[in-house]
Amino acid sequence: MLAPGRPKPKPTPETQHFWDGCKQGKLLLQRCGDTGRAYFPPRPFSPYTGTRNVEVFEASGRAKLHSYVIHHRPVPGFTPPYAIAVVELEEGPRLMTNIVDCEQTPEALQLDMPMEVAFTPLDEEVTLPLFRPAKESK
């Protein structure tokens, strides 16, 4: 369980499936029915073509570290220094996250390093898709 004080996301009808998936340990993305391309954040239509013909699918959870900052000032629910990162999923979309099981330093956090999803409960209701450096064997 994460430290108390962290802002809690509130799902909407269009994003409920994503948060339900996180709680079940699944990273659910959506795919455009016209182009086959994955997208994020969740919405019930394709940002590429506007079609409502979209499907939800489970992503691999594998990603690469795309960019980040390491925040050095206190924020409720966080212990500085902590990285605020963006990872690029194997399926294409990027998402903001935090990095766990890793030193929060420029030396430890190398761009393009392989990452994997680490579902972490915020509380009883919400689980966040955090990421950690990928294990060697995969």
Partner: protein, 382 residues
């Protein structure tokens, strides 16, 4: 289409004081700047028939506070470049005949927080669901998110990003109204307090109080005003996403690439004709993105362009000549102050005046690369 030079800025003023202004609320900072701009043009509130300012429910507050009955209003609020968009929209409105004399105002009690705009994180918004839970806390943690990727792709060093702040401090040293004027070195920047790696405090904008106002009218009517008209040659605007994590390319802003070239093409000028430039610098990387995305440098060449002195006093493209958001002032929405400096340069009244400057490009960014607006000015009517 509007022809280059068809619309002019006849009034331009900042609030009487900027920096720490604990004696004025936010709405009074709007009004103080507006009164200063009306005074120099000889206009009264009853002469103004159009009002633009940032945000929902704000045009009616400002109009009522100043005693204006507008026939045209614009509350476009896309972050700190909103004023560039107001200029563009106002020019179109005057061209269309919707209004004759338009007032654009800004006021922000960013430092003293008197009647300041709250920024509540909405947990149901897309930002609230997909960014806020990971601990960003204001622009210093969000705006620099793409920087490490830009540095890696473009081969830009920490020293290069420190140099941006060093050069702008040189300009600020010439400006008595700038908040910080003492010279700094690259080492000073790289040894200043870490805020959000890779950026330290000297690479982050100031947080100040202040206001600014512009008055626009047709070039034909501009001749009757006591002030020297500054003509609008071209404008551009765009938005991308208000989630920085979803920006398509971390090394380049889509909104910049639309707004900047649109303005320059509308102006019908060659980039080599530009004498003076403002690129909204909330953080030290923004001038690099701006120079590249607007086509003044090839991708990867902006850092070297600044390092080699092209943007400093005496350089071939003087940039952010008031000292910028890093050293002059930054209320929260700095775009109005970038516009004011372009107008001063075109009027020939800037504290660090660029000799014989005839064309100025003023480029704004809104909230974490989410929006952009560009205006090309000239003191000569084409």
């Amino acid at each position: 289409m509007i022809r280059p030079g068809e619309i002019a800025v006849v009034g331009a003023a900042e609030s009487t004081k900027i920096g720490a202004v604990p004696g004025m609320s936010q709405i009074m900072l709007h009004a103080d700047a507006a009164l200063n701009a009306m005074e120099e043009t000889g206009l009264k509130p009853s002469d103004i028939d159009g009002v633009a300012c940032v945000g929902p429910m704000m045009p009616q507050q400002i109009a009522h506070y100043l005693g204006i009955t507008p026939k045209w209003v614009d509350g476009t609020g896309v972050g700190g470049c909103s004023f560039m968009l107001h200029v563009r929209h106002a020019a179109a409105a005057i061209h269309a005949g919707y209004a004759k004399t338009i007032l654009i105002t800004h006021g922000e009690s960013g430092k003293s927080r008197i009647n300041a705009t709250p920024r509540p994180p909405e947990p149901e918004s897309l930002n609230g669901q997909f960014e806020v839970p990971y601990g960003p806390f204001g622009p210093p943690t969000l705006f620099p998110i793409p920087v490490l990727r830009y540095m890696k792709e473009r081969g830009v060093s920490h020293e290069d990003l420190a140099m941006v702040a060093v050069v702008q401090r040189e300009w600020a040293g010439k400006n008595p109204r700038a908040m910080f004027r003492d010279p700094i070195t690259v080492d000073d920047v790289l040894n200043s307090r870490m805020i959000a790696y890779p950026f330290r405090i000297l690479q982050c904008c100031l947080v100040t109080d202040g206001g600014g106002a512009l008055i626009l009218t047709s070039a034909d009517r501009a001749k009757d005003f006591p002030t020297k008209p500054v003509y609008i040659l071209g404008t551009g605007e765009s938005v991308e996403t208000n989630m920085v994590s979803q920006m398509k390319d971390f090394t380049s802003s889509s909104a910049f690439r639309v707004a900047g070239p649109t303005a320059i093409e509308a102006a019908g000028i060659d980039r080599s004709a530009v004498d003076h430039m403002m690129i909204y610098d909330a953080f030290a990387h923004l001038p690099l993105y701006g120079l590249e995305d607007l086509g003044f440098c090839k991708p990867g060449e902006a850092a070297g362009f600044i390092r080699e002195g092209n943007t400093r006093p005496g350089g071939k493209l003087p940039l952010n000549t008031n000292g910028g958001g890093l050293s002059y002032t930054h209320t929260g929405m700095y775009g109005m102050f970038a516009l004011q400096e372009s107008i001063r340069q075109m009027r020939g009244t800037a504290p660090a005046q660029v000799p014989n400057a005839k064309i100025s490009v003023c480029h704004g960014v809104g909230g974490m690369f989410s929006a952009s607006g560009t205006v090309v000015f000239s003191n000569e009517k084409p």
